[in-house]
Amino acid sequence: MVAVKNLSFSYPHAKPILFPDFELGNGEHVLLLGDSGSGKTTLLHILGGLLRGYTGSVMIDGTELSGRSEQELDHLRGQKIGFVFQRNHLISSLTVKQNLQLAPYLAGVSAGPDRIDEVLAHLSLTNQQNRSVLEISQGQAQRVAIARAVLNRPSVILADEPTSALDDKNCERVINLLLQAASETKTALVVATHDQRLKSIIPKHIFLNSTT
């Protein structure tokens, strides 16, 4: 699903970041660990096609990302990649359900008639579906984000510190739901974090070394 080879990226006026080669199979999960500034977010953005201008090769579900145009990457992202961020990533003017409806609309795909209800039920959000996302709790918001990420049945979910803002109870619930949702659609999962609580839950780790 995911294959990274000889990947390096440099920000202007900074030393290049070298990333280790790795591969992920269908439904495989990996934890991306490293200090802040080690390039965890950078790697996620490259995997998600948000950053270009790197050297090396990145394959997502059989498609080489390097050298693609911005528009091609947009389409690829909509169809094959789901994102989960730390916080504040729901569209605040919409309701829970509308946030989910946004995913297929923006990606330009059809979700299927019952897919949204199914995902809502799965993440125990059915009762919250018509509430504004400003009214729900952080834990619930994170569940909505997961629901939105898995909705289009992506090949890969890229999660950037998905649990860092949550307490222990919510952290465990959210990561379990994420794993469960990912395994259901055989989605590979890359979680970038420095949250120690996740180490025991996702056994496969990739360490990024700080460049400094």
């Binding site: 977010t41 389409h75 992202r77 909509g78 994102f83 961020f85 003017s93 923006l106 990606a107």
Partner: protein, 412 residues
């Protein structure tokens, strides 16, 4: 989910901003719409009312006043003219038709016009019921007068002296309604027509004139029951039609040479009126454009600011697979929606203002100016507002287009 819901949710999320921007634009647009409705309709009314009248002859004074009084029936007469002198004009070889007019009384601010049948014929008026005025004190009502007074054929009323409501009533002579005209869309709808003799009678002038009985005296060309050359009685004015274009050159000079008479050309005076009104209309137009300009700036600032707050939202949308063009389109749609809402509200408001002015101000109601018409200019305004929306959204949309999503996401 579609573009409409998304844009609406953003507009709804800031109800006060949206309302303020729409209101500003609506105000500017409504001023323009009111001006269009008024100036276009006034122009149409003036042209249709002055149709077929080449020259008005009346007592010396303001020519504009004479035109306003005898054609549009809104101002007061400049004075009276002697019947004998009027006849002299009417007999001129370049005059095809001369219509006498005697003013002086009214009923509930509806003017009673002493004239002959040629006057309603000018406007191709037809009877709705009853017959045309014939005998003394017979009146035929305009459609609007009949509708608002509730008079029907056979009713009688006493006129009031003067041309505005509340004058002294001539109780001793009651007018009899003998007919009601169909609506003509002209000033006729607001008039009460009668014979010239009736007007003289209620003013007790009847005793003075020499009536044409079985005597050998020649009848007046203007008022056939009166002997020609009677110099004791007076008319208010005379409406003339030229026999040939030569009339336009010779008649005004001929009339103005008579010491007590003046000639006023409806075409010339109404053109002058438009020029005078035009200054006011232009000033208001400038005000309207200033309002629209301010609202455009306000909409631009609103979009620009909300975009700053939404940079992260928009980056998130890109992570969900939205292309740059889709987001640019969303921003443009938001700008267009704002201006469209404001414009539609403005057009509606403009019509509502004209409508309520018609209800509140009797003079406007009488002119028959209606709010229930859409002029082509209003469609142009609507199209212009779309353009304005695109313009206001241009810079914000461009910023969305070149946003570096990775930087925005990493920065949060």
């Amino acid at each position: 989910m579609n573009l409409g819901i998304l844009v609406w949710s953003y507009l709804k999320a800031k109800p006060l901003n949206t309302a303020l921007n729409s209101l500003l634009l609506a105000l500017g647009i409504s001023v323009i719409v009111v001006l269009i409705l008024f100036s276009r309709q006034v122009e149409e009314k003036i042209q249709s009312n002055a149709k077929g009248i080449d020259l008005v002859v009346g007592a010396k004074g303001s020519p504009l006043q004479l035109i306003l009084c005898t054609i549009f029936h809104i101002d007061f007469p400049t004075g009276n003219i002697n019947l004998a002198e009027a006849e002299k004009i009417a007999r001129h070889r370049l005059v095809k038709k001369a219509i006498p007019m005697a003013l002086g009384d009214s009923y509930q601010a509806y003017r009673i016009i002493g004239t002959n049948r040629d006057y309603p014929a000018l406007y191709n008026a037809e009877l709705n019921e009853g017959k045309w005025f014939e005998k003394e004190l017979d009146v035929t009502l305009g459609a609007q007068v009949a509708a608002l007074t509730g008079f029907s054929v056979g009713d009688t009323f006493a006129s009031a002296h003067g041309l505005s409501a509340g004058g002294h009533e001539h109780e001793e002579h009651d007018f009899v309604v003998v007919g009601i005209m169909k609506p003509t869309g002209s000033v006729l709808d607001n008039l009460i027509l009668t014979s010239v003799e009736s007007v003289w009678k209620v003013h007790d002038l009847a005793i003075d004139y020499i009536s044409v009985g079985d005597t050998t005296q020649k009848a007046s060309t203007l008022v056939p029951t009166v002997a020609a050359g009677d110099s004791t009685i007076e008319l208010t004015s005379l409406l003339l039609q030229y026999r040939s274009p030569m009339g336009a050159i010779q008649l005004p000079r001929y009339v103005n040479q008579q010491s007590s008479l003046q000639a006023a050309s409806p075409a010339f005076e109404t053109a002058r009126l438009f020029t005078i009104l035009g200054v006011g209309v232009d000033a208001l137009m400038v005000l309207a454009y200033v309002l629209i300009f301010i609202s455009a700036i306000s909409i631009f600032i609103a979009l620009y600011n909300s975009l700053k707050e939404r940079r992260f939202d928009l980056a998130i949308m890109r992570t969900m697979g939205a292309t740059r063009l889709k987001l640019v389109f969303t921003i443009l749609a938001e700008g267009i929606s704002l201006t469209l809402v404001g414009t539609v509200a403005g057009i509606f408001l403009g019509h509502a203002v004209v409508w309520s002015m018609g209800l509140l101000i009797e003079e406007i109601h009488k002119t028959g100016i209606t709010s229930f018409v859409l002029y082509q200019e209003e469609w142009i305004i609507l199209a212009g507002s779309l353009l304005l929306g695109v313009l206001c959204a241009c810079i914000p949309a461009w910023q969305v287009y070149r946003t570096d999503i990775s930087k925005v996401l990493a920065g949060n």
